[in-house]
């Protein structure tokens, strides 16, 4: 078995297992983000989902892709690990999954923000979003967690996340998953 044969098989196995239709790992720039959104648009058109679902999906994707663009590199620029983007299609829903390095100092605050939005219903999220907007400072990288609130509101589902070891004292790998139902309740 050649090395590439093995790589294709590894990627295929992961994509099959997770029902992933698009996997991208590498530098994220505006063109790449635009083409991913365009791919998702084609995917959604092919699936024939409602326009409102498309809108939700787009909003969530934009928010998550913006997050990656902001947090894609480790500070030492060595890029030991790369950010990644995965689009999953199941029978009843899509999942947008991102992964990027995260400094260990930020893990607690990010986890807390996600857990907080996961514990809220739609009305609470709406109110929390208003308050967060009033209190946020635009210059903050990562802001006041507005992105997470927005993702939770738009996706109408809990946000899943995981933090994984990448053999670095300063960084871990942060994965975030948002689920968007194909048929709205």
């Amino acid at each position: 078995m050649t090395a590439m044969e093995s790589t294709l098989q590894q990627i295929h196995a992961i994509m099959n297992q997770e029902n992933a239709v698009l996997v991208y790992s590498g530098e994220f720039n505006q063109d790449i983000v635009k083409s991913m959104l365009s791919y998702a648009e084609g995917k959604l058109d092919a699936t024939g989902v409602d326009d409102l679902v498309k809108k939700k999906m787009f909003n969530v994707m934009v928010e998550m892709l913006q997050n990656i663009t902001k947090h894609q590199f480790t500070t030492d620029e060595e890029q030991v690990v790369q950010p990644c983007f995965v689009l999953i299609e199941e029978d009843d829903y899509f999942c947008v999954v991102t992964g990027n390095p995260i400094h260990v100092d930020k893990i607690d605050i990010v986890s807390e923000r996600i857990n907080t939005v996961n514990g809220m219903n739609a009305d609470q999220l709406k109110e929390y979003y208003k308050q967060a907007r009033l209190n946020s400072r635009i210059s903050d990288v990562g802001g006041a967690g507005l992105g997470f609130i927005d993702m939770a509101r738009k996706s109408e589902n809990r946000l899943d996340f995981g933090v994984y070891d990448i053999d670095s004292a300063d960084y871990k790998y942060f994965s975030l998953k948002a689920r968007i139902n194909k048929v709205l309740a």
Binding site: T7, Q10, V21, V23, A46
Partner: protein
């Protein structure tokens, strides 16, 4: 979700730029090509090389990934674009019917007996003499085009895993 760590590791180690898995039918093929085109455009390489890569990708997506066992729901083709030290590589994995698998085996056996000019001659002969192409001839034309664009750097093999068979095509575009 630890698969995200595995994916980025596998892709980084293998210099994979992007991977797509789907049935690549009609509308989706256009979107897939669009995203691949953008990725190729963003590479710091000559336009002629970009055109070669994209030409091969188009053939792969339109003629190989979207043929065979397709039911509109099955996502059984994978296309991976990778960077190599001296060029680029397109790896394609797809499920084929037994008939199509036999056609591809014959095409590549035929290629082994010919140089590029022989492949071009056979391609031109098919194009000149046929109004209605057979499935085997259509497949030959697709693979011949890939072989010509890649200067013959194309190979084919089949993986077996349990009851599943997966046809693999590897195309290298060498930057001369």
């Amino acid at each position: 979700m630890d698969y995200t760590v595995s994916i980025q590791r596998v892709m980084k180690e293998s210099n994979c730029l992007i991977a797509l898995r789907d049935n690549f039918e009609d509308l989706l093929a256009k979107s897939a090509l669009s995203i691949l085109e953008k990725k190729i455009e963003s590479e710091d390489i000559e336009l002629s090389l970009k055109n070669k890569i994209f030409g091969v990708v188009v053939e792969c997506v339109q003629n190989i990934c979207s043929s065979g066992l397709r039911d509109g729901k099955t996502k059984d083709s994978v296309l991976v674009l990778s960077r190599m030290p001296n060029g680029y590589k397109i790896d394609l994995g797809t499920q084929m019917s037994a008939d199509q698998e036999a056609i591809y085996s014959d095409i590549f056996k035929n290629f082994d007996t010919k140089d590029l000019s022989g492949i071009k001659e056979q391609r031109n002969a098919i194009l000149a003499s046929r109004e209605h192409l057979t499935e085997a001839e259509r497949d030959f034309l697709a693979v011949a085009d890939i072989a010509i664009r890649s200067n013959g750097e194309v190979s084919y093999w089949v993986n077996e895993s349990g009851n599943e068979r997966f046809s693999n095509i590897e195309v290298k575009i060498i930057n001369n």
